[in-house]
Symmetry: D2
Subunit: 339 residues, 4 copies
């Protein structure tokens, strides 16, 4: 029933550019789509967590997908986030996305309330049984109800419409458990990792690709890491994975998500505007400081000029500096119940 080709490669969860009034900046979004496709991403992934889907209205979410599918014009497939307020609204979104040529939808597990495995199963089953379009499960236990291995397996067995899972937990052994449980019953099922910090090892243990926020900022690196790993050029891949980790950590842990990515995107020449989540004065100052660090990191990769005043020799990629940032924030995340 579902499209036979397995989803593979790097799907980019994109930031949505906003204009000066805080509305969707359609021209810049279209330019961004072209920019991404030209730099080699295998697919687009609007309305993901990086895309701040919860901060847009239902109407805006549809419009984002419409613009991007139109702009992509078939050059790459689109995987569209389609979770709405309840199952009925979500199915309506699935129907609409199907009608306009989306390849598959990604449905995040129920959030706010944290559901049991039985509840998560019932939710996806109801959607999968009524969706005209292929469905990818989206597991992000940091933000939403976890989808456990038996639930993935049961849905894979019972629902031909469910064709893959996007997992952002970063839990490598759990990814192996999912692959071991599902591959035998659904060989074409797709496993995508959303945790850029482990992209290479995830691919090496059997993942088909990733939905990686870094690919929205440095698509050249994320794509190359994918290619090198698939080609078995491990020494080069390992080196690139370490560099990507530094970039990823800097963007994800240094500011309220996804503000680090938004700041980096501006450095790449895409004007994403100002995010909808208000910022305190202290946060604005921190973001300026982060932006300078990111510019050094991106300059070291050849993607931009160094900031005025230059970058400390060798410090631009200093893993310890990044490590301190990460450690400082991990406590914060745990305090907020995320890790």
């Amino acid at each position: 029933m579902s499209d036979t080709k397995r989803l593979t490669g790097i799907f980019t969860p994109n930031i949505v550019p906003l204009d000066g009034s805080g509305e969707i900046n359609e021209p810049e979004l279209r330019r961004y789509v072209d920019w991404l496709i030209e730099r080699g991403v295998h697919g687009l992934y609007p309305n993901g967590s990086t895309g701040e889907f919860t901060r847009f209205t239902a109407e805006e979410r549809r419009r984002i997908v419409e613009i991007m599918v139109d702009q992509a014009a078939g050059r790459v497939p689109t995987l569209a986030g389609a979770a709405e307020a309840n199952v009925r609204e979500t199915i309506k979104a699935c129907e609409h996305y199907h009608a306009i040529g989306v390849r598959a939808v990604a449905i995040v597990s129920p959030f706010y309330y944290r559901l049991s495995a039985a509840g998560v199963y019932a939710y996806f089953k109801e959607i999968a049984d009524n969706s005209p379009i292929d469905v990818t499960l989206y597991n992000i236990p940091m933000f939403a109800s976890p989808i456990d291995v038996p639930t993935v397996k049961r849905l894979a067995e019972e629902c031909p419409r469910v064709i893959g899972i996007k997992d952002s937990s970063g839990d490598l052994p759990n990814m192996m458990r999912m692959i071991a449980a599902v591959r035998r019953v659904r060989p074409e099922f797709s496993f995508l990792t959303g945790w850029d910090a482990a992209l290479m090892p995830m691919l090496l243990i059997g993942c088909d690709g990733g939905t990686n926020a870094t690919s929205g900022i440095v698509p050249e690196i994320t794509r190359k890491l994918y290619d090198l790993t698939i080609a078995g050029r491990l020494d080069e891949a390992r080196d690139l994975q370490y560099r990507l980790l530094t970039l990823f950590d800097s963007m994800i842990y240094s500011a309220e998500f996804p503000e680090g990515f938004r700041a980096a995107l501006r450095l790449r020449g895409i004007d994403a505007g100002i995010g909808r989540q208000p910022k305190s004065e202290s946060q604005k100052l921190e973001l300026n400081s982060l932006s300078r660090d990111l510019q050094c990191l991106l300059a070291a990769e050849g993607f931009t000029e160094e900031p005025v005043g230059g970058c400390p020799v060798g410090q631009s990629l200093d893993p310890e500096h990044v490590a301190r940032i990460v450690q400082g924030v991990v406590g914060e995340l745990k305090r907020r119940g995320m890790a």
Copy 2:
């Protein structure tokens, strides 16, 4: 600037009755509002977590408040949940609720993403500076970004529109810390607890009232517990708190929230219909079993008949039985990242 009377007493976070098509059942919702007011609740609290605000569309959330305010007709004040997709939409909702006579809005801390204290502050500051109606902070760290004590204090100092906090953490020493930090600078600030299991001790250490889901099911008990505690009749209050704890635990831990409350509401004669979150077969069976247990508990309190076949003598309120349920589910909750 804000209404001078401190919010006190029991505000009921209500389930929204649905009809056979899953739409808002307006006549039953109006009947439920009357039923609650007749049984003594001090105020109404639509669009809370019990009210499954995330499972309704923005339009539906407005309609729920409109119906309830209209039906209450000034008999009791309404505290309306007003969180929408982003700050701009939330402020629009505040304006609307102000126009139709809502007493104050309750704004849950940002959810899905977990924000830092600085981000939580910036969010509430932006709303409070632009809201024409009094704002109550809503802290529910189980589901949303935590609002810490310094943030509560800073908002209380800087924002006259912020007039209180509803805290559903159940963390008694933290409630004391909030009261100690805020009362001196804002004597009229209101502290409401959303954790029915500790209503009596929370009132005894200085809370002004509660937004308690049990008051939507057994308003007679919750109200009486409030009255006895305020009156200093501690022995009677303690006995009632233990009985309320058993009811609360049974409803909150035995099924996907708020299905236990919905099942109990039907036993009280209000037809809440079937919830929008799909249920698996195993969940339906468990809910039937729970419903029978709840009927015994409610019968023991004189609110309903015993189920056919009767209830085991003394078992209807067996704390150990409830304890086993609680323990079993606490592990589940932790697994889902909630506790």
Copy 3:
């Protein structure tokens, strides 16, 4: 089989004074025992978490109890921590403590490994079946395997030797669940809270007393809070509970546990020496700063002189200052997996 009198009142978990070589300072420990008894504590509790039982050798743990029992000379009962490397060693310790006149032992749930409820049950059952002395369960889920309500109930039913539980979780509804489950089958079972921040409300919902670290530093206050609460003088008790909370938070959250208590003890005139856990330079500086804050707090209570330079007016008990400390550290604790 067991002593019929229920354990009630305040049992003090004491710091062990060390001399300049890091050895047990026997004269100072004896003086400390007298000091505590003179200030009204109902019992002694050596080898608790405050007593750093894990940082002493098995021989030292025995000697601490021997010294204290000898010095108490029957004036107050002793509840001795008796957990050793394994069940056999623990039972040997129980036998020894029984022989020297200890009233009961307290056995912490297995730690390092985190055991299931079944494992926790088996552990305590084996000990209770072989102990010649009454046993108090010690639940401190922050540090050790949790003891859940059904396990407490089962042990209470099956083991006459198990006569009570000391719970340091601070979870008030859970304490109510334990009391509800156990009181009917074991009316003389004792419930002691180890969480000073909630001593008054814990007593009000039915606890028999506490094992409170603050009682080792300000026994006058902890004892008075107990007396006022038992006497139903709630307004006075509430005021004292708020003041005790400030002291407790300052001591527990401002430094590596139990260094804040050790620093405060010195201010009360007991020389506890230098703890065995090494401190970094930054920790030593922080401890000096904390010591000054504590001196202001203790001076405000009339227990000591203000430090040279004096204390800011009103700031000595500033709840916001303490709140900031608490919030800062809660993130830390969660990062360490403790909260």
Copy 4:
């Protein structure tokens, strides 16, 4: 100052065989040492978590190391767990182990109390400055205070005696962060992973080896996985890693740790006796059931006969069966505060 050769390969954390009286079974322990060395492990690692170091007395811990070093007789190096009640006792153990020819000690981070990064640093610094023998840090945040990346880096820079870290967190990106931070300043520093579920990917991103509990049960597989991965034979390695994951999950998640390993060891012909932690009747039944499952798994690998009655075709390695076990237990672990 320290031995120049980097620790590499598989070090086996061994179960300690007990006799019918629960005492160390020296002959069987000696036979086990030979059995392990004959099957290719690169080193021995007594007094690890698998070795239940907390359940032995200080004297017993020494004796275990003495027996094993004597039996190894220089054929392979020994990495000995040396953590004792406090720094002074630990340094004494270091001196003793140095004297008898141990290659290096492994010191677990402080446990029971959860220390801050500053406290963890001070602890290891004090030990490293006074130890005559090389020290390996042991990070196991599930059970003990976490050792964060800046702390590892600082200790690596300041303490030549600290020559490596054994990390049992299973957190792959964090391992990369440690390697990135430390390798440049201490090229010979050794990174060992204690999380068998991710051994292959950990080696691929730069680890030097592992301290893996599976190597005590199926040393043939763990060693072969190491060799294949190092040789770059990734397809074979991946297949073996999946099989090892199934074995690891079965042993670690199906019973109270390390009882699953003990049961499997008996199936390999080493009589480990009965563990010191008491078991309830339900736990004994579960262990029997697990033992049968393990026998099928080991039979499928050719290490033992199938149990009487045979094994279900293909079921012996059914990943879904194992997945269900894992999921069921992960909730349990979280409930106990471990995950």
